[in-house]
């Protein structure tokens, strides 16, 4: 597959299916493995890495793309494929890949179920921007006949919060759109904050839409719990020391990076350190921020 095809497949998947860029990346890579004509494992790896670079270069948030591709590559390297013919390898990898994908998609349901336990009758929930994980959790809770209220931030600059509100209305969940700057004002009446994540760092902190860190700080000050929904493929080995330590391709899309001076640009994401996070609700269980590193160590070492 060449560059143009990769990009086309990737965009198509994102537009037609409602999946996170990470999953779309995995699907694209799987497709590539299926149709590729390479003959050795090394070459396959190389092409996959290059494909990942192409995908990161597009104007989609790079955080989850990076982590999921990393994970898939690791997955492949862990498969015990020594001494097997390459065509056999390919078949095994494709099967494994499908299984992996299936588990990831199932994970969403698990997360929604765990998260819905935290939503009680009469809860007032604050969320930020549009997150599929949070949406599923709220829908699940609605399905359990719970009565609660959601506050969504507009979340400039792309106003994805408005999209979230539309979807909440469709699901019949009472919701209110609030200004990004009204977070401090509303926090004293909120019961807890629930956000998604684009990436989970090794420290246990998260990378998410810009504005998340502010909400987390406010919640901590007002003693409100801060819950994060994150699928396990979003775990990465990143360990940012601060906002400036985040990789550039996370913060800015590729077109922005090429054209303008970055200092004056608005970043897409920010990093929330682990001490502001109460719990991470993932498909491998409910974790405290210190548990994330444990999982990653088990995987990579």
């Amino acid at each position: 597959m060449d560059e143009a095809e990769i990009r086309a497949t990737f965009s198509k998947i994102i537009k037609t299916e409602d999946v996170s860029p990470g999953i779309a990346a995995i699907k694209t890579l799987m497709q590539m493995v299926k149709v590729s004509d390479v003959t050795t494992l090394q070459e396959l790896r190389k092409t996959m890495t290059i494909a990942t670079d192409y995908m990161r270069d597009m104007d989609y948030p790079a955080a989850s793309i990076s982590s999921s591709s990393e994970l898939l590559l690791r997955f492949i390297s862990l498969a015990s494929l020594d001494g097997v013919a390459f065509s056999e390898c390919k078949r095994i990898m494709i099967d494994r890949g499908q299984m992996f994908l299936k588990k990831l998609l199932d994970g969403r349901g698990k997360i929604a179920k765990s998260a819905s336990k935290f939503i009680l009758d009469g809860s007032r929930i604050l969320t930020h921007s549009r997150s599929r994980g949070v949406l599923y959790a709220l829908k699940e809770a609605m399905g359990q006949d719970k009565k609660f209220e959601v506050f969504v931030t507009h979340s400039a600059p792309d106003n994805s919060g408005e999209l979230m509100k539309k979807e909440l209305d469709k699901a019949g969940i009472p919701s209110t759109l609030i200004l990004d700057s009204a977070i401090g004002y509303i926090m004293e009446t909120i019961d807890f904050v629930m956000v998604g994540a684009e990436g989970v760092a090794e420290s246990g902190g998260i990378v998410n839409k810009i504005g998340t860190f502010t909400i987390a700080m406010c919640a901590k000050e007002m003693k409100k719990p801060f819950y994060v929904m994150a699928e396990s493929f979003k775990f990465s080995r990143l360990f940012p020391l601060g906002q400036s330590d985040l990789p550039l391709d996370y913060k800015y899309t590729s077109s922005v990076r090429k054209n303008m001076i970055l200092d004056k640009e608005d970043p897409l994401v920010d990093y929330t350190p682990p001490n502001y996070i109460t719990l991470l609700i993932t498909d491998i269980g409910i974790l405290t921020p210190s548990g994330v590193s444990d999982e990653l160590i088990k995987l990579y070492i």
Partner: protein, 341 residues
């Protein structure tokens, strides 16, 4: 009564309900004996059937005693032991993690119905090790006392706990220190704790719960026992301990929690209240102006929630741990599939 441990847990449930069996260590030992009897005497052919038997008991207990987690935790741990022995027998390793998701042939996961010889004996062996662990748990915790308490310290404790008592008595053999006991109204079990400590020649002072903040500025350490520990390191304790922990945080006094592993529950608590209250008569006696009592709402909660950031250290028989490590202890004790039963 203790000679013939019944094969029906309902006897133990009755004892717990009536209050004759109240000490956590005794409950733990009785539960463990009960499990041994099930394994030895009941009819089961493979691991899956045995686990189903135990799961049925867990369901029974959690319905009969919703606030009582010691027995259900021990049974959960036994389920984990069964799975472990099964896996060792078949040399497979199933652990839910990122790693496992990547490496396993997933369809083989979770099937415990193959017959395995020697499963029964290996489980019983493992259980007898576990029993020794339960029996020596308090002593092992008490043995760490001299690491944490030094001479001329002032220690604050709240109400009554057998574990804390043994801990302080062990330390008093080599060091001399003072203990301040908060009386823990309305059960006032702090009084009997103070008497018990004083009989061991430990200099004790009893204060009312109102004075906790006042004396905290002079206290060196706070040592408390708990009812149970939540999965994120939060505590479910006697009512009033949250105030102690807050005061300790304000004066930067370390809070040390003595706990046994069977008190660790894999549940998360989503709200601050445990929805359990006991009789209001211990708060305001009926003899006080009956008409006032009938027009007032009297609150007497049983438990208190203490968030994990207020706890400095958990001391178990294995040693000291930070609250952020509790998730690790939990993953060693219970299998994730057994968290929700």
């Amino acid at each position: 009564m203790s000679e013939a441990v019944p094969i029906d847990f309902s006897y133990i449930i009755d004892e717990i309900r009536s209050g004759t069996l109240s000490q956590s260590n005794e409950v733990a030992l009785k539960t463990e004996e009960f499990v041994e009897r099930i394994i030895a005497e009941k009819d089961w052919k493979n691991a899956q059937e045995l686990m189903n038997l135990i799961k049925a008991e867990i369901k029974l207990i959690s319905e009969a005693l919703p606030l009582h987690t010691i027995s259900t935790n021990i049974l959960r741990h036994v389920l984990n032991i069964i799975r472990e022995e099964y896996d060792i027998g078949f040399k497979s390793h199933v652990e839910q993690s990122l790693h496992q998701m990547m490496t396993s042939d997933s369809d083989a996961m979770g099937d415990y119905s193959k017959m395995l010889d020697g499963l029964k004996t290996s489980i019983i062996d493992h259980l007898s090790e576990y029993k020794t662990e339960l029996e020596t748990s308090i002593d092992n915790i008490a043995a760490q006392a001299t690491d944490h308490i030094y001479t001329n310290e002032i220690i604050l404790t709240f109400g009554q706990s057998n574990t804390v008592e043994q801990f302080l008595k062990a330390a008093s053999r080599t060091h001399s220190f003072q203990v301040i006991v908060a009386e823990n109204a309305p059960s006032y079990n702090g009084h009997s704790m103070a008497v018990s400590l004083a009989n061991h020649n430990i200099q004790t002072t009893v204060i009312s719960d109102t004075a906790i903040f006042s004396v905290m500025s002079r206290v060196n350490k706070v040592i408390i026992g708990v009812h149970s520990v939540m999965a994120n390191g939060a505590l479910k304790t006697a009512c009033g301990v949250h105030a102690v922990a807050l005061a300790a945080k304000h004066y930067s006094v370390p809070v040390m929690v003595l706990t046994h592993l069977y008190k660790l529950s894999p549940t998360y608590v989503s709200s601050y209240s445990f929805d359990a209250c006991s009789s209001p008569a211990s708060v305001l006696p009926y003899s006080f102006a009956g008409d006032i009592v009938s027009r007032t709402n009297i609150i007497n909660p049983m438990f208190d929630y203490v968030p994990p950031e207020l706890v400095t250290l958990f001391i178990t028989y294995q040693g000291g741990n930070a609250p952020s490590y509790i998730y690790r202890l939990l993953s060693e004790l219970y299998h994730p599939d057994d968290h929700e039963l």
